[in-house]
């Protein structure tokens, strides 16, 4: 035992420096940091693409970019944001926080963890390189529907390879997270004592392993249809393009929950802290998360009502979709009840979490509208859908990620961020994000189609408003980058507990969290720790 510890300490001291340190690191905190930085870079790249779209839509007519490039931008913006910004951010948070929250010294498979991360820069180099290829980047929308996606250039092969790499990375990450959570919890950390963030990630990881391979299969079929003469989706050869939509959305709907369940977890951590109360209905939160995950497998066809399906099938998918609103509603109820009669304070993480609760709910409501079959015939493929998924993804997933960064940044860096700037960032973002996306509901109801670079002149005003909101929101995110950078450089020293009401094992280690924590597992039943953990749940 003493020998082993000594050897371990020795190994720590010979930590490589410089680039090699980051290239070869197997430390969950360093890998978490890499993921988060990668995600931030992709967020800015994807954001720049969004601004190209909003600039083109600032006025009717084709005045800035050619339509082909516009389509490349809508496609690449979505792929970069989904696979490059949102998903890696959650994986980065899991890397940093899951071991700290369950009292584990590291992830279960540190070396695989290193590979999971380092695949990502390669995948995105491949993806972004298509912008510079003669045939241009993919332009058929992120869903890559055939026959359109098969009629583009050869760059499709690069996109598909990139998607395969991202998928492999996600699956390895998910396996690692499950193995960590199921195998490395500290004594006393029973499943039903785990923080909600850990629970939501456990369930998300299972979703990832279940559906990323299905996406891999779908794009492989595209690849062989395009380059090797198969006819999975080619009607001339006996295939069916609608089949692609079924396979894609069998992946696609669970995928949207992959991007929101960890956000639910984050908000369930933050609201109790700043309400200075236990999370209301912890067990029902766990069950609600699990049932959302289960239901997400039986609603996929709500994305394809308009391809034509028998009435019975349309009704099934409509009701199944609406049923998801029930567990989602339970969650919102629990968050509100947690705040009820709490001693609330409104630091930046709490502001973002509250912004999440309100604005995500708006996205949920427009989702229920879209689930109504006859209404969806009107709304489908209009800006109404665009408004819906940006409320759930930007003011939902992205706001939760921002909340989590403010919440845990002092733990990561050892410094407090600038609270005034944080609040400005919140109010600026919240105001402009609504200017950006709310008018898109009206545009959609009035019939403006999505993914089209031009529009009828009666849509001008709302598009102008939306574009102004887009640029203002985008500029505001540079403030976020500055705040994070400033906090990493220095600032007021953070205490171990950081927030007065914070509970959980991650707050028992010093700030900044040392490279190695919980080498000896904490005992969660230890009276000193009960106040921090078991006591809250």
């Amino acid at each position: 035992m003493t020998d082993a510890t000594a050897a371990q300490h020795d190994a720590h001291e010979h930590h490589p420096k410089g680039l090699a340190r980051w290239l070869f690191t197997t430390n969950h905190k360093e890998i978490g940091t890499l993921y988060l930085i990668f995600s931030l870079v992709m967020f800015l790249v994807g954001g720049a693409m969004a601004l190209v779209i909003r600039a083109e839509l600032f006025a009717p007519g084709l005045h800035l970019v050619n339509p082909e490039f516009f389509n490349q931008m809508t496609t690449m913006h979505a792929l970069v944001m989904i696979f490059g910004a949102v998903m890696p951010a959650f994986v980065g948070l899991a890397n940093w926080m899951v071991p700290l929250m369950i009292g584990a010294p590291d992830m279960a498979l540190p070396r695989m963890n290193n590979w999971s991360f380092w695949i990502m820069p390669f995948a995105f180099t491949l993806l972004l390189a298509t912008l510079f290829m003669p045939s241009g980047a993919p332009a058929s929308g992120w869903t890559l529907y055939p026959p359109l996606s098969l009629q583009g250039g050869n760059s499709l092969a690069f996109v598909i390879l990139a998607i395969h790499l991202m998928g492999i990375s996600s699956i390895m990450g998910a396996i690692n997270i499950i193995a960590t959570i199921l195998n490395m919890r500290a004594p006393g950390m029973t499943l039903l004592r785990m923080p909600m963030f850990v629970w939501t990630w456990l369930i998300t990881a299972f979703l990832l392993i279940a559906v990323m391979p299905v996406l891999a299969g779908a794009v492989t079929m595209l690849l062989t249809d395009r380059f090797f003469g198969t006819s999975f989706f080619n009607a001339a050869g006996g295939g069916d393009p609608v089949l692609y939509q079924h396979i894609f959305w069998f992946f696609g709907h669970p995928e949207v929950y992959i991007m929101i369940l960890p956000a639910f977890g984050i908000v369930s951590e933050i609201i109790p802290t700043f309400s200075r109360k236990k999370l209301f209905g912890y067990t029902s939160m766990v069950y609600a998360t699990a049932s959302i995950a289960f239901l997400s497998f039986i609603v996929w066809a709500h994305h394809m009502f308009t391809v034509g399906m028998p009435l019975g099938a349309a009704l099934f998918f409509m009701y199944a979709t609406m049923v998801i609103a029930v567990p989602t509603g339970i969650k919102i109820f629990n968050w509100v009840s947690t705040m009820w009669r709490g001693s609330m304070t409104f630091e930046t993480p709490m502001l973002f979490a509250l912004g999440f609760v309100v604005l995500f709910t708006i996205g949920g409501l427009s989702g229920v509208m879209l689930a109504i079959v006859p209404a969806d015939f009107q709304y489908h493929d209009t800006y109404f859908v665009v408004a819906h998924f940006h409320y759930v993804l930007v003011t939902g997933a992205v706001f939760a990620i921002m909340a989590s960064v403010y919440y845990w940044l002092p733990k990561w860096t050892g410094h407090m961020y600038n609270e005034t700037l944080g609040k400005i960032h919140f109010w600026w973002s919240t105001f402009w994000v609504n200017v950006l996306f709310f008018p898109q509901h009206y545009l959609g109801l009035a019939g403006m189609p999505r993914r089209i670079p031009d529009y009828a002149i009666q849509f001008t005003e709302f598009n102008v408003i939306s574009s102004i909101g887009g640029f203002a929101f985008g500029i505001g995110q540079l403030l976020f980058v500055y705040i994070v950078w400033q906090c990493a450089r220095g600032g007021q020293k953070a205490t171990a507990n950081v927030w007065e009401g914070a509970r959980g094992l991650e707050w028992t280690v010093p700030s900044p969290a040392p490279l190695h924590t919980f080498d000896n597992p904490p005992n969660v039943d230890d009276p000193d720790l009960v106040a921090h953990t078991g006591g809250t749940r």
Partner: protein
């Protein structure tokens, strides 16, 4: 200590093995959806596909047509962009009685200076009606060869079965014709000799 280390390592590896297996199985499941979908469409009629060969008239055509009911059949024609053909129905619509046999035709013209072989792929909307839309003769059952500039009228014989859902008063029979590259190349070579 080292014992328990080894046992946690073992149980980690067991998880990894099982989860990796699950991932591989789900990749397979994606492919399994292809035959499942085909079977599902065949059984339920979803997707609007029709039988690939002629329906046996003697077996399915009822002895008594239902003269009290009238169903409007729309005929639709589409040409894939790589095929140098004109293709259109002789009649745009037809009022039919369920259980009675009808005949109509499509006209195809090859406006290129090469022989071209094409394949027509039919579909019926609404999808569920495809189970009751029966063709006893159709140009879509075989490849069609048209010489340079050649034009041909191609017949379709069909009947709508009286089992067609009561609420369905309109049925569309739609074709899309595709170029068959292999067969076209074969014909071009044959012509050259």
């Amino acid at each position: 200590m080292s014992d328990s280390r080894a046992s946690t390592l073992n149980s980690k590896l067991r998880y990894v093995g099982q989860l990796a297996l699950f991932a591989v199985a789900m990749f397979g499941f994606g492919y399994l959806l292809v035959p499942l979908y085909d079977k599902f469409c065949e059984v339920t009629g979803i997707g609007g596909r029709t039988a690939e060969g002629p329906v046996a008239e003697a077996e399915y055509l009822p002895t008594e047509p239902d003269m009290s009911r009238e169903v409007t059949v729309h005929f639709d024609a589409n040409v894939n962009s790589s095929l140098p053909w004109h293709f259109e129905p002789v009649e745009k619509t037809m009022a039919v009685h369920p259980g009675k046999m009808y005949e109509t035709a499509y006209i195809a013209t090859n406006y290129s200076d090469q022989p071209v072989v094409a394949q027509a792929v039919p579909s019926v909307a609404p999808g569920l009606a495809s189970l009751h839309f029966n063709k006893t003769e159709c140009f879509c059952f075989t490849e069609q060869l048209l010489g340079p500039g050649e034009s041909r009228e191609m017949p379709v014989r069909f009947f709508v079965h009286p089992d067609l859902d009561d609420g369905t008063n309109f049925v569309t029979l739609s074709y899309i014709v595709y170029k068959n590259d292999d067969a076209t190349a074969r014909e071009t070579v044959a012509m050259g000799q």
